[in-house]
């Protein structure tokens, strides 16, 4: 009796300490989560703070007199004349009229407010509407990147304002007159890369990413699932299959740049495939995602309870019928989740693409699997290294688009799992 009481006493005495220990342990956990969350918050605040201005563009809207004589153009349907014509002059004259106090003498200073490619915009508009020649139209063209930076970031130390004091006054007045306006940056979503930040867009990179991902998905999903089914359901348990298994697990941990080297050596140097094309990119990323897909597919197949297989076999189904009719449908949600996560990883990959030439300056939006292309993360990488400061906000905006893609892919994976998963 006395012995028992003293034991209860010991427990009671240690109770406080044990509770304290538990509380401390919980606090560590909360601290860990707080650190992870704050890292995420810092990342998002930084990217969004730098990048949200990338989603707006600065334009100049004005009445432009399309005088044929001024442009050296008397027939806008003539390709040759269009090529030689001067499209800067009408824009410049229109802008001089808008700028208070500007005259012919300051034409160079006024011209520096126009985007260097504004004349190409006008050319394209005239090519589409030849009847505009000789009329006056209200046109909206892009402003120069320096104007764009000034309108968005005047007073921000991180940016250098390159306009002269006089030009700054002009722009202030033009903003007041609503000649210079900011609006949603549709150029960013409708064009390829450019060396002029205000003309640069991510459409080329998005299409490149989609083409590459398509190749990756079409190749890696069937191969991965087939390999997983064979290894899990049909393969005999012996030294050879053990060896294969170990190697697949190791492959999943191989740094991705190695796959890039492999792609360079095999697909480009041996097979003579062209550089910088989505097919080669897709093949390399297939090699990279295959282990992830095989491992997750095998785990999904393993989680199908043996009773299902036994029941199917019990009523006389063949091995193949068991797998195709019962195991595979039940394992599919897990396989899909694994594949989507593998694809999301591939979408954010840059290193292997460096070696096969997908890190390149490509202006035209790719229109096929054998067309030169880049992908989204590569576009971010290229812009982040550009000397023009206005590319910083474009790079951050592109990161946001990339993150949106990744988040939606992960959300799809979660949704599929929630919807299709069955528990036993």
């Amino acid at each position: 009796m006395t012995d028992q009481r003293s034991q209860a006493e010991i427990v009671r005495q240690s109770l406080k300490r044990r509770y304290r220990k538990e509380r401390r342990f919980r606090a560590y956990g909360i601290l860990a989560i707080a650190i992870a969350l704050s890292a995420l918050v810092v990342l998002f605040v930084d990217i969004i703070g730098k990048g949200y201005t990338g989603f707006t563009k600065t334009t100049i809207t004005m009445e432009v007199e399309l005088d044929g004589e001024m442009m050296y153009l008397d027939d806008a349907t003539d390709k040759k004349q269009i090529k030689m014509a001067d499209f800067v002059e009408p824009l410049l004259q229109a802008l001089i009229k808008q700028v208070p106090g500007a005259t012919e003498e300051n034409r160079d200073a006024v011209r520096d407010l126009l985007n260097p490619y504004a004349s190409n915009e006008l050319r394209d508009m005239l090519e589409q509407n030849p009847e505009w020649l000789g009329t006056t139209q209200t046109l909206t063209v892009l402003a120069h990147t320096d104007v764009d930076v000034y309108v968005k970031h005047a007073g921000d130390d991180a940016y250098s304002i390159k306009l002269s004091d006089r030009q700054q006054r002009w722009v202030d007045q033009l903003v007041e007159k609503e000649v210079v306006q900011t609006s949603f940056n549709d150029v960013f979503f409708s064009s390829g890369d450019s060396r002029d930040p205000s003309r640069a867009g991510i459409l080329g990179a998005i299409v490149g990413s989609l083409l590459t991902m398509l190749v990756t998905l079409v190749l890696s999903f069937p191969i991965g699932v087939a390999a997983a089914i064979y290894l899990e359901e049909f393969a005999p348990q012996n030294k050879l299959t053990d060896f294969i298994e170990v190697n697949i697990n190791n492959l999943a941990a191989v740094p991705s740049i190695i796959f890039g080297l492999l792609g360079l050596a095999v697909f480009i140097n041996l097979f003579g495939m062209p550089r910088s094309v989505p097919v080669v990119g897709g093949l390399v990323l297939t090699l990279m995602t295959l282990p992830t897909i095989i491992i997750s597919s095998r785990a999904a197949i393993k989680s199908v309870p043996p009773s299902i297989r036994e029941a199917a076999e019990g009523i006389g189904a063949s091995k193949m019928q068991v797998v195709l009719h019962h195991v595979l449908p039940l394992a599919m949600p897990g396989m899909l989740t694994g594949s989507i996560i593998g694809m999301a990883q591939a979408l954010g990959e840059t290193a292997p693409l460096l070696l096969i030439g997908m890190v390149a300056f490509i202006v035209d939006v790719p229109d096929g699997f054998f067309d030169s292309a880049t992908v989204l993360p590569v576009q971010v990488f290229l812009w982040a290294g550009s000397p023009e400061l206005a590319f910083i906000e474009r790079a951050s905006a592109a990161i946001m688009v990339l993150l949106a893609f990744l988040v939606s892919m992960n959300a799809l994976a979660i949704w599929l799992r929630k919807r299709l998963e069955r528990r036993w």
């Binding site: 390149a360 490509i362 000397p387």
Partner: protein, 350 residues
């Protein structure tokens, strides 16, 4: 039946592999590789070329000068690039590689110059330094302050330890990593330029001298910043005691916030670099593979477009991006070159 199916699949598979592995795939886009220093200029030309001619916009990869020449010289055929950019001249060994792989006819274009600058925030003390002092500040092994024929590990901690006219702040210089062409040129032109006349290395063999002169100290005074020159610029603005090494175009882009150090009495201006008076200046090139002219459309037109006065003239758009353009008569010669495409001879490179 099953056998037939397998046979068909096998044939289809073999066929697709064969189709994929046919080497000479037709290409209508010019493929350009090469130096990351020329890249900002060449991309502007390429983009304008694409938007003002009927040819597609050329594709540009930034592989570094050496990497670009290696790809360029790998052979004839559309899987190999048509043009390579370089921030130094082709070496004779590279020329030989080209010849060996059948790339016989090459045309060289010297498109202008670029300078490497040492810059700091405008609020910092500006450096007015000779190349010799620069080597003493950054070399791994420098002549001992007591006995100038003996080499010791770099003892200098402040700029003013080297010469009392220099600012009294700790030596901290941020620069590109060894993989960068800018670093190669900096080592070769700035550091070796300041070191090779020192008595301590005068008697060494050429290799040993290069080893001493081009080794940068590793005790934290020289900070490697990765290939991102923007990052260096940002750090310089935040930190008044820091100096940075990068290309002239980045200085021009940030001229309202940065100032450039005076080297051997020369301020890096476009004129001084073009005239080769600024000590750390180099020429930029691009090389055209003549066998591809006519096979891939637009190569000759691109070369002409690059050297046209609207691009490289005194008012050209490349000047706005920071290229130091060649003088008028050199530009005229380049235009002749673009229309005649003369072959580069090995003797020219020696």
């Amino acid at each position: 039946m099953i056998k037939l199916k397998t046979a068909l699949t096998t044939v289809a598979l073999a066929g697709s592999i064969a189709a994929v592995s046919t080497p000479a795939m037709a290409r209508d886009t010019i493929s350009i590789v090469g130096s990351s220093t020329v890249y900002p200029f060449a991309t502007v030309v390429a983009e304008r070329f694409g938007s003002s001619t009927d040819f597609p916009t050329p594709k540009l990869e930034s592989t570094g000068s050496g990497g670009g020449l290696k790809l360029f010289c790998a052979g004839i055929g559309t899987q190999h690039p048509d043009i390579t950019n370089a921030s130094r001249r082709m070496k004779t060994s590279e020329y030989d590689l080209c010849q060996k792989n059948g790339v016989k006819d090459i045309t060289e274009f010297r498109i202008g110059s670029d300078g490497i600058v040492i810059a700091s925030s405008q609020k910092a003390d500006n450096l007015d330094i000779t190349l010799e002092q620069l080597f003493l500040a950054l070399g791994k092994q420098v002549p001992s302050p007591d006995d100038e024929t003996k080499l010791v590990a770099n003892p200098y901690e402040k700029w003013s330890d080297i010469d009392s006219s220099l600012p009294n702040v700790a030596i901290r210089v941020m620069g590109p990593p060894p993989t960068s062409g800018t670093r190669d040129s900096f080592n070769e032109l700035a550091l070796q330029g300041g070191c090779e006349d020192l008595p301590a290395v005068a008697d060494m063999s050429e290799d040993d001298m290069e080893g001493v002169c081009q080794s940068v100290r590793e005790d934290g005074a020289f900070i490697e910043a990765g290939e991102n020159d923007n990052l260096i610029v940002q750090k310089l603005i935040d930190d008044k005691g820091l100096y940075g090494v990068f290309g002239y175009s980045f200085l021009e882009e940030n001229s309202d916030r940065l100032q450039a150090a005076t080297l051997n009495g020369m301020v890096p201006t476009a004129e001084a670099i073009a005239a080769d008076e600024y000590p750390v200046a180099r020429s930029l090139f691009f090389y055209v593979k003549k066998a591809h002219v006519g096979v891939v459309p637009g190569i000759a037109d691109y070369a002409e477009f690059f050297v046209s006065p609207s691009a490289m003239g005194q008012n050209g758009y490349l000047k706005d991006v920071g290229l130091i353009v060649p003088p008028r008569d050199a530009l005229m010669k380049l235009q002749d070159k673009a229309s005649n495409m003369p072959n580069l001879a090995k003797e020219e490179l020696m």
